[in-house]
Symmetry: C2
Amino acid sequence: MIPIMPKRTVFFISDWTGITAETLGMSLLAHFDGVEFRQVRLPFIDSQDKARDALASIANAQVEDGARPILVLTLVNPDIRQLFESSGGLCLDLFGTFIQPLSTELGTSPTQTVGMSHRAIGSEYLNRIDAINYTLSHDDGLTPSSLEKSDVVLVGVSRSGKTPTCLYLAIQFGVRAANCPLIPEDLDRMALPGELASYRGKLFGLTIDPERLHRIRGERRPDSHYASLENCRHEVRQAENLMRREGIPWLDSTTRSVEEISTMILQQLKLKGR
Amino acid sequence: MIPIMPKRTVFFISDWTGITAETLGMSLLAHFDGVEFRQVRLPFIDSQDKARDALASIANAQVEDGARPILVLTLVNPDIRQLFESSGGLCLDLFGTFIQPLSTELGTSPTQTVGMSHRAIGSEYLNRIDAINYTLSHDDGLTPSSLEKSDVVLVGVSRSGKTPTCLYLAIQFGVRAANCPLIPEDLDRMALPGELASYRGKLFGLTIDPERLHRIRGERRPDSHYASLENCRHEVRQAENLMRREGIPWLDSTTRSVEEISTMILQQLKLKGR
């Protein structure tokens, strides 16, 4: 008999987007193997009426799972928090737990405006939008003339992970991230594209396992020289030699997420973001 | 005399990227006015040696601020957590606080692998990268022929916020988000671009305050008809009429963040993401 994993429904409940509750909640759940978690995000729960609809879903899940649900809460209003505390679910109350010790420490009362606790449309937000637009218009080295406004310029062979990393740097950290491919001509000359010479301190390299690169390139252009394992091995080896010779810091993107790669780049280049 | 705001240094300390600690920590701090917070993210604190370097920074901040720092922790290893608990700072221990009640509830011991608690390079991650690539190649309605693979297609006048929203949907939620502008020809005809007709159920509109649109467009093309307040008013009014007539759900992006807009779109179209 195949053992059946016990199921638990996890509700991420917020008066705002619920993205913070979901992100921390998923980090917590990842510590537990052997349980199948069904995830439900309930955003914009900012009234007693909406809370009551949510409570009905929670009661249903309890019946279906045969076990009480887990509730991860980011709710500013203590009355609405209280409704969920009384629901019978296991409450992980992210605001309620930490607001009180912070209030005591700072000697000041917390404000209670919903959404206040999240990013507003202030100068930091507009800076992120600017960074996204900058990054989109400097993808794949299209306009090197304005690289001077960049915070970082990623280099690496085609399909080594530069574009998703640049977009994450822009969206999450408000960093203006350009990227420029190292193309076969650069690798044959063993020299960086000329326009990068003035931006040495902003350069960061990405490399990738040649077998993985071969698979990624093969999805787009199967049976091409570009995607062949032999060519991928050659390009990666040459690119790594070039970055080593030029003293460009670099890392391997193969087994790393964009979150991890972006954080390592900010740390190595001592960029703060935002 | 101008009153001086008290300063507090806040450390976001993690054995991984620290992005979760920073996101929740910032939400908590936003509840408190009247204090100037200096933020320091310390990622990849995964050894006693790195923890001791961090402790030195914490001690320095305490001296500089004349008040103890606030530490927001996402650390899997209890021994390293303990070092920070003893530092004298106010610890908001995001893993330590909630792992124990979860363990009791689930009747299973937590794993202790660093990074486990974060997104790994699994199928979900590869789906996000696919969504980013899809979204980039379907920005501004360039290749309508493959809209059938989209999860959502955003429509709206030029510069109404479609592109940053699409990228956020892809990066955060793994949603394949295409976008297609409503151009003056569409607005004059009062009809959607023909290629959108088959995707009615995936369409979602963005609108924007004409004054804000005028300012945004003016930054790129000052003194143009395109950016003039009169034309912005006309385009926005026509686009809203068109969306209303065609029964396309839409919202105003003017005072909303990409996080909020994306969450509202997923909710209205009943998309789950990932």
